[in-house]
């Protein structure tokens, strides 16, 4: 009679993508929208900006929101909104570069360490342990002292500082995957190390890698903005959210907080969104594993 109820689960692959987004809940949806919007602005910012973001006009300094200037003017009389829109490029691109570099190097080292095990693993792990001694910002400051201020030096330094964290997380997962019986089966069948790593190890650790990358993006954004805030990253007059906060800080005590707060809010919004997404992705990665 009415024993097992047939599983009414949404099995078709095409629905799985939808359910995985919906499964992240309202917070997840909002976060995804925020990130999408930020990406859109990062790409099309310069086209969307109504006014020239870099042309100073000291007569207009600190004037509040009026007319077409929704966020008013900053310390040098430039339209805040335009600077925000154009600044999204460096503020989003920098972290992206950092994430890409640190993920590629980190994953590579982790996979090699997990695959070769033994001596190779010991050497790689020791090397990573040493890198752990350098906090990101410190390494970036050191790099800019040696190579000069600018986004490039800072971004590379941050990538180096983040790499061991990526490698450690991925190495754990890769080790687990590597000890699975199917890997031994493939080896016996004569599959090459590269093909096993590319076709099996990496795809199976991919959920974790993606989750890690997402969360790393948030950290990179904060650190890079901090370095720009310190004057060691993106250089004025180029717009960048971190630089904008530094430039307009004097406005706070003078009674014009908006030009400094607006970029701050953008940073927080994007980082919160990215963190929420990253956490959801982590949960899914854990669920997929267990």
């Amino acid at each position: 009679m009415s024993t097992g109820v047939p599983a009414a689960a949404i099995d078709a692959p095409r629905f799985r993508a939808l359910t995985s987004v919906r499964a992240t809940g309202a917070a997840g949806v909002v976060s995804a929208i925020v990130v999408a919007a930020a990406t859109f602005v990062a790409i099309f910012g310069p086209l969307l900006a109504p006014y020239d973001p870099e042309l100073p006009n000291l007569d207009l300094a600190w004037i509040g929101p009026t007319g077409g200037h929704l966020l008013g003017f900053d310390v040098q009389g430039r339209d805040v909104l335009s600077r925000l829109l154009v600044g999204a490029q460096t503020s989003m691109l920098g972290p992206l570069v950092v994430v890409i570099i640190s993920m590629i190097t980190g994953v590579l080292l982790a996979i090699v360490a997990a695959w070769r095990r033994g001596a190779a693993d010991a050497v790689i792990s020791s090397g990573l342990d040493i890198l752990f001694a350098f906090p990101g910002i410190l390494l970036a400051v050191l790099a800019t002292a040696v190579f000069g201020a600018g986004l490039t030096a800072a971004a590379i330094a941050l990538s180096l500082a983040y790499m061991p964290y990526v490698a450690r997380v991925v190495r754990g997962a890769a080790f687990r995957e590597r000890s699975q019986p199917y890997v031994a089966a493939l080896e016996v069948q004569g599959a090459s190390a590269t093909s096993i790593c590319l076709r099996h190890l990496i795809p199976n650790t991919l959920p974790l890698i993606v989750a890690q990358a997402t969360i790393l993006f948030g950290y990179a954004m904060i650190d890079l903005a901090a370095i720009s805030f310190l004057g060691l990253g993106v250089q004025p007059p180029r717009p960048d959210w971190g630089v904008m906060i530094s430039e307009n800080q004097t406005g706070i005590v003078q009674g014009y907080p908006l030009p400094a707060l607006a970029p701050g809010l953008c940073i927080v919004a994007v980082v919160v969104a990215v963190n929420v997404l990253g956490e959801r992705l982590f949960e899914q990665a854990q669920a997929a594993r267990g």
């Binding site: 752990f132 903005a225 963190n275």
Partner: protein, 305 residues
Amino acid sequence: MLLVSLLVASFLIFAAMYLAPGNPVAALSGGRSLPPSSLRVLEQRYHLNAPFFAQYWYWLDNVLHGNLGISITLRENVSTLIASRIWTTAGLVLYSSVLILVFGIGMGLVAGLRPGMLDTSTVIITAISAAIPAFVAAIVLILLFAVKLGWFPAIGNGTGLVDSIRHLTLPALALAVSSLAIVARVTRASVREEGEREHVQTAVSRGIPARKLIRRHVLRNAAIPITTIAGITIASLIAVAAVVETAFSLNGLGAYLVQAAQSKDLAVVQGISLLLVTAFVVVNLLVDMLYAWLDPRVSLGSRAT
């Protein structure tokens, strides 16, 4: 192992002289042109005519004796310059750490042990706070508490103990905000997780009273991940302090490091970097030791993350 890291780190910091474009003298002078007498002093001090590793050895030897070089811009011993600023940074980091531990763990415990409205609101607040970088927190705090409410000063160090503490409050808070949120979240999650474990059921089935249960079986076990995250975030304060010091115009090591980097005063950058890296490594070592003490399954040197 950490000592090796420290050694290698010191080597990298030393080698920064050679990584810069141009020759070491140019790096040390920050691209300035110096009179020949100064150049000779530099050559002598850094043994620039000796082979590479010998130079490193001399440099390290000097460092271990407290001689960190001379600031190009200020013409003073780096050690002296550091000493006068170290207490600001140390005070800031300490103040911040206390805030993080007391409020972070406190909020996490309350949220973890009592489900309900308080818990939900804590989750939301910490999710947002964790994303607030120190410099954004700085300007918001300045706006709210210094400008609008006038409770705390916006910039500067202050004089005397009480005044200094007053001046350090907003900076310490700005530094603590995101770390506090992270510690609170991990605390809450750990307390929740540990409460669900089977060994807690065993204790319940034997009639252990609730208070003892929470103390001995939930909190004691949750202390492990909580300590780890607290240690990691406090260690990170060492670097982020630079940002806060700059925002509040504090006369600390971090702000000085940034200024030195901007003015390419390499000796100062090297000296402060070395100090900060050492502090970072030491804090991590302490956390490792604490972790090994708390978790009998783990031997010193392996932190299961």
